[in-house]
């Protein structure tokens, strides 16, 4: 199995990578470019899993060489699972990228990283609710402190491709129940 760590630049992908993998790490250039990427191995439930630290990208619509590499690495690994690492304090942009990856049909797990930074900015995110809307695992993490990494790994097996229409329907339901709850609260 192959797992790609994807996300914006500076969200902690490499911290995850270092937490997940051990000493057996190769750093190389993507063929024909000077864009570096690292890959390593870890064992999940006895199975050897390859982990790739993909260069950071803002979207799947590349603007520079590093982003081109990120996108082609994703497209070359059709059978891979993706961990979308999102900066919890900048969740909107992160979800944009995550949705693009979902649209392409990859099984995805979302790591809402830097929860501590988000909390410092008074941002709290209801990961359970996001999970119900998206239909994929959403785990709050603080990668530099190692928080949430085990849960993330244990939930990798729940990653599955989801249909965007389902997400839209779930989101509509979620806002309905929320407004119903608000109305109940007001009454």
């Amino acid at each position: 199995m192959k797992i790609l760590l994807m996300g914006h630049p500076n969200v902690g992908k490499s911290v995850f990578f270092n937490r997940l993998t051990g000493a057996n790490v190769t750093e190389s250039n993507y063929p024909g470019t000077t864009v570096d990427y690292t890959k390593g191995w870890m064992k999940i439930e006895g199975e050897d899993v390859e982990i790739v630290d993909v260069p950071g990208t803002f979207s799947l619509d590349p603007k520079d060489r590093a982003e081109e590499v990120a996108v082609s690495m994703l497209h070359e690994s059709r059978d891979a699972k993706v961990i979308a690492v999102i900066d919890a304090s900048k969740i909107e942009r992160g979800l944009y990228l995550a949705m693009e990856i979902i649209e392409e049909g990859y099984p995805l797990v979302i790591a809402l990283n830097m929860r501590d930074v988000a909390e410092d900015k008074n941002i709290t995110i209801d990961a359970d609710r996001l999970e119900r809307i998206l239909g994929i695992p959403v785990v709050s993490t603080v990668a530099i402190a190692g928080e949430g990494i085990k849960e993330l790994v244990s939930r990798l097996k729940e990653a599955k491709p989801v249909n965007v229409d389902d997400i839209i329907a779930n989101a509509a339901n979620a806002s309905d129940t929320e407004s119903a709850a608000d109305a109940g609260g007001a009454a």
Binding site: F58, S59, D61, K63, S89, K90, E92, R93, Y96, I123
Partner: protein, 75 residues
């Protein structure tokens, strides 16, 4: 009143009304889309960059990009 993002002054705020087509996808991943509220926080002279806050997160844009984004001023 409408302005180009590149014409906004420090501290001004507005809602994005139009983004030139060739730029739409490039800035969408940075959180800038039609309907979003932007606030200018840093404006470097001559050629930018322009730092704007969108959804409590800062983003920098070059002069050419900022000139392709139209904003309806709110304050």
């Amino acid at each position: 009143m409408k302005k180009k993002l590149s014409e906004m002054d420090y501290g001004e705020q507005g809602t994005v009304t139009e983004i030139e087509k060739d730029l739409q996808k490039r800035v969408a991943g940075m959180g800038i889309r039609v309907g979003k509220t932007l606030r200018m926080v840093t404006k470097q002279p001559i050629k930018g960059p322009f730092d704007v806050v969108v959804d409590e997160a800062e983003t920098s844009l070059g002069l050419d990009m900022a000139g392709k984004i139209t904003v309806e001023m709110t304050k």
